[in-house]
C-alpha cells in the first residue's frame, strides 16, 4: 500500500523532528528520561527507610521503580499529545503531513522513551543487586503493552480535545495528578479492603500495574487483574479517539 508507506515515512520524519526538540542537542533531556524515575525511586527509598515504614509486602526498590514506570508511560504519552498540534501547525502545509501523524510520532516517541528508561533502570538496579531478576518477563511485556495501548488510545482523545480547547489541556494536567493515587502505581490490590478491591479493578491502569508486578515478583503476591476488561476499555477509547482525530484534521485547516 503506497499510502501506508508514505505515512510510515512521514511519521519517521516527524519522530526525528520531535527527538530534536524533546531531547535537544545537549543530551540533558535524554538523561532526564532516566534521572527522573531514578531520583524518585531513590527519594522514596530514602524516606521510607528513614521512617521504617514499608507498608507494602514488596521489596521497596522494585515496587517504586515499576510503579513510577507505569506513571511515566501513561502520563507522558497522553500529556505530550495535548500540545502536539500547535508547534507543528506549519508542517501541515505539506500535503502528506496529517494530524494523526503528529500524534503517532509523539505516541511512539513517548512509549519508546518510557520503555527504554524502565528497562535500563531495571537492569542497573538488578546488576547492583537492589532488585531480584523478574519472575516472568512475558507477563511484564504483556502488562506494558496493554498499558501502552491504553495510553495511546487516551492520547488520541486528550490530544484533539486539548487542541480544540485550551482550558481542557490545563484541566487534564490537574486530573492526571489527582488520578495518580488511583492509578495502581503505588498500591497493590491485595493491600486493599475487599470492597475497595472490586472498585480498584474498574481502573484499567490498576490491572496493568498488577500484572506487571506479578511478572516482577511472581504469582505468590496475589495480583488481581482483568485483561479482557482492559482490552475492551482500550478499544472503547480508541474508536472515539480516532474519530476525534479525524474531526481535528478538518478544524485545524484554514489558518
Amino acid at each position: 500500500m503506497a499510502s501506508a508507506r508514505i505515512q510510515r515515512r512521514i511519521v519517521g520524519a516527524l519522530l526525528l523532528r520531535e527527538l530534536l526538540t524533546r531531547f535537544g542537542r545537549h543530551n540533558i533531556g535524554f538523561l532526564w528520561l532516566f534521572a527522573e524515575p531514578m531520583l524518585f525511586t531513590l527519594g522514596v527509598l530514602g524516606i521510607w527507610t528513614l521512617y521504617h515504614t514499608n507498608r507494602t509486602p514488596f521489596p521497596l526498590t522494585a515496587f517504586c521503580l515499576s510503579g513510577y514506570a507505569t506513571v511515566l508511560l501513561w502520563r507522558n504519552t497522553i500529556g505530550r499529545c495535548g500540545n502536539a498540534v500547535e508547534p507543528n501547525r506549519a508542517l501541515m502545509h505539506h500535503r502528506n503531513v496529517k494530524v494523526i501523524d503528529l500524534f503517532l510520532a509523539r505516541i511512539v516517541l513517548e512509549i519508546s522513551g518510557a520503555s527504554v528508561s524502565f528497562v535500563v533502570l531495571l537492569v542497573i538496579f538488578m546488576l547492583m543487586g537492589a532488585i531480584a531478576p523478574p519472575d516472568d518477563v512475558i507477563k511484564m511485556i504483556v502488562a506494558w503493552g496493554m498499558l501502552a495501548w491504553f495510553s495511546a488510545s487516551m492520547a488520541l482523545i486528550v490530544g484533539p480535545l486539548a487542541t480544540l480547547s485550551e482550558p481542557f489541556e490545563r484541566f487534564w494536567h490537574v486530573f492526571a495528578y489527582l488520578f495518580l493515587p488511583a492509578s495502581g502505581a503505588f498500591f497493590a490490590v491485595a493491600m486493599l479492603s475487599p470492597h475497595l478491591q472490586s472498585i480498584a479493578l474498574w481502573v484499567p491502569t490498576v490491572s496493568c500495574a498488577e500484572l506487571l508486578r506479578e511478572g516482577l515478583f511472581g504469582p505468590s503476591i496475589g495480583a488481581r487483574y482483568d485483561l479482557y476488561y482492559v482490552a475492551v476499555v482500550n478499544l472503547a477509547l480508541m474508536i472515539p479517539g480516532l474519530l476525534l482525530t479525524r474531526h481535528i484534521q478538518v478544524t485545524v485547516e484554514g489558518e
Binding site: R9, L16, P87, H94, R95, V250, E253, G254
Partner: protein, 224 residues
C-alpha cells in the same frame, strides 16, 4: 493533470458558515501556466492550499495525476525551533529525497551560510523566504504553486529565482496567484479571475486584465 470539479469551500464563522468560493472547476494540464488574479481576501490562498492538498474542499473533488509542490516561497512551512538544516532534513524525508544531495544546493542558492545551523525562528523574513525558495527548488515537482509575486530578497536574488523557476523549470506546470496583474501577464498562458466566490476563465490575458480592473473599479464605486 490537476482537475478541480465543482469545488466549494466553506469556513465556519461566528453565526454560520462563510463561503470562500462555490462550484469552481479548473483543469491544469502538464506544462501549462495558469494565473489567478484576485483582490485581497478573494480566496486566492485558500484556493492554492486546496490545490496543494494541505486542505480539503468542503464539496467537490480535486484529482492530481502530477506531483504538486507546497505553496512556493511560503515562509511559514517550517518548524521554528529547528535549525535550517534540520528543516531541510525534515522536508527531504517528507518528500522522500536524499538530504545529502539537496543540502549543498540549498546552501549555495539560499546564501544563508552558517545561519543554516541556527533556529529558523531567529531568521529575518527575507532569510526565511530565501530558505523556503531554495528548498522548494531542491525538491523536483511537476507542478509548482506560487502564492503572490516572489518578492524574495534583493533584486539580484529575485532575478536568480525567476531564472531558476521560469527558465530552468520552464517545462513545468505552474499556478500563480496574485493581486498584481503584470507578473501573471508576463508568465502565464491562461488567466482566471477570482471574484465574489467565482472563478471566471479567460483565454486572452488582456481580456482577463480588463475584467479584473473593471471588478476593482466596481468594488470601489460600491464602497463609495
Amino acid at each position: 493533470m490537476i482537475s478541480l470539479r465543482n469545488v466549494s469551500k466553506y469556513y465556519r464563522v461566528r453565526g454560520g458558515t462563510h463561503a470562500v468560493f462555490e462550484d469552481i472547476s479548473l483543469d491544469i494540464q502538464r506544462g501549462e501556466k495558469v494565473g489567478i488574479l484576485g483582490r485581497n481576501g478573494a480566496g486566492k490562498s485558500t484556493l492554492i492550499r486546496l490545490i496543494s492538498g494541505s486542505e480539503s474542499p468542503s464539496r467537490g473533488s480535486i484529482e492530481r495525476t502530477m506531483s504538486v509542490s507546497w505553496p512556493l516561497a511560503l515562509t511559514s512551512a517550517f518548524q521554528g525551533s529547528l535549525t535550517g538544516v534540520d528543516n531541510i532534513h525534515f522536508i527531504a524525508r517528507v518528500y522522500g529525497v536524499d538530504a545529502g544531495e539537496i543540502i549543498p544546493y540549498v546552501q549555495s542558492f539560499s546564501e544563508l551560510g552558517y545561519y543554516l545551523d541556527e533556529p529558523v525562528k531567529s531568521y529575518s523574513s527575507g532569510m526565511r523566504a530565501r530558505l523556503a525558495f531554495a528548498l522548494s527548488m531542491a525538491v523536483e515537482f511537476e507542478c509548482f504553486l506560487i502564492d503572490e509575486v516572489i518578492s524574495v530578497g534583493d533584486a539580484r536574488f529575485h532575478d536568480r529565482c525567476a531564472h531558476e523557476l521560469f527558465e530552468r523549470r520552464g517545462d513545468r506546470a505552474m499556478v500563480i496567484v496574485s493581486h498584481e496583474p503584470h507578473f501573471i501577464q508576463k508568465h502565464c498562458d491562461r488567466v482566471c479571475v477570482l471574484v465574489d466566490g467565482r472563478l471566471v476563465k479567460f483565454d486572452n490575458a488582456d481580456l482577463a486584465l480588463a475584467f479584473y480592473e473593471e471588478s476593482i473599479r466596481l468594488a470601489r464605486t460600491d464602497a463609495a
